[in-house]
Symmetry: C2
Subunit: 161 residues, 2 copies
DNA sequence: TCCTTAAGGATAAAGAATATCCTTAATTAT
DNA sequence: ATAATTAAGGATATTCTTTATCCTTAAGGA
């Protein structure tokens, strides 16, 4: 059980977009090149973020994506669920109903205890991811990085907005 | 991203094995029949639990599996990791190293902030699963179930040990 | 000696993740 | 107007994982 590689991609993309000035857009092509990932496939992931209301897109030259809201209003969980969906990581198939001793038509006390434990763990995971915003992300990704590299990267991005 | 169906299977199997008297074994065939799942494939999962030191197996007629230790010493996480492995659910591919502005040979402050957040969430998930033992499981799976059904199921199992 | 069982290897089928290509419509630059 | 650029989305291909079955071997019990 492993998250899609797209999750890493879009989180890094969000970090870039967080640094963009208001009403500036950055194209998929540039985000793909910056991160060394396939443009077409990254595009699918960004479309998901757009549909989830996290990004705003615009067409034509100088088009691309920007954040739909303040970085402080977008959490890791928002981004991850946009790509992975929000279905629980544990799917109960109700195998308890296969119990050969079960009376026909018997109705189990719902939901199964196992599923409850699994869903609680799932919620702990989500809660942890809800607690981190793109603002936190920007801070984390910049600290300890040489100012010269940050500056150069910023200019690389700005040259393409 | 979804857990293997085997996870649900083996957790239910562990609940059954928890109810077994000391030094009694239950065969894969019976566990598979009780839960209505394919015997051969369930067998692979039980082998994993055995290799993880959670179950003890014995051969021949009246052979099968029993718990290797007290139900209170086996957690959900133990069982799940035996089946799913213990690799983190987020795999960082270090795409930050693809940054075109990065000086050749530059060494990033390890690990990436994104990976740290993801691994922390992963740990929250694991912590939640570590807090529940097979003893808790037995209680959860029996409460609210009619005593007659519990009794009948117990007899079904005992008849095959 | 015969039957039952776990262990484990080989293989196949189904599904999900990864990736590419192409068309369409909107927007901008010329 | 025209041409270039871009996101959106459909179709399809490839690879990997999950799910499943089959078969052989060795151990244990009747
Ligand atoms: S029946 Fe699905 S987890 Fe118990
Ligand atoms: S480089 Fe992998 S998560 Fe940042």
């Amino acid at each position: 059980m492993i998250l899609k590689s797209q999750v890493e991609w879009v989180l890094h993309c969000c970090a870039i977009l967080s640094a963009l000035p208001e009403n500036k857009y950055l194209a998929t092509k540039d985000l793909a090149e910056f991160h060394g990932v396939p443009k077409e496939y990254l595009s699918k992931a960004l479309q998901s973020l757009s549909q989830a209301g996290l990004l705003v897109s615009t067409l034509g030259p100088s088009g691309g994506y920007r954040l739909a809201k303040s970085p402080s209003d977008i959490t890791f969980l928002d981004v991850i669920e946009a790509v992975e969906g929000n279905t629980p990581t544990f799917a109960c198939t109700e195998i308890r109903q296969k119990n050969p001793c079960r009376p026909k038509g018997y109705c189990e006390p719902a939901p199964c205890g196992i599923a409850r434990v699994m869903w609680e763990a799932d919620e702990a995971w989500r809660q942890s991811l809800r607690a981190v915003t793109l603002t936190d992300l920007s801070r984390m990704l910049t600290e300890g990085v040489p100012p010269a590299l940050l500056q150069k990267s910023f200019e690389w991005i700005m040259a393409r907005t």
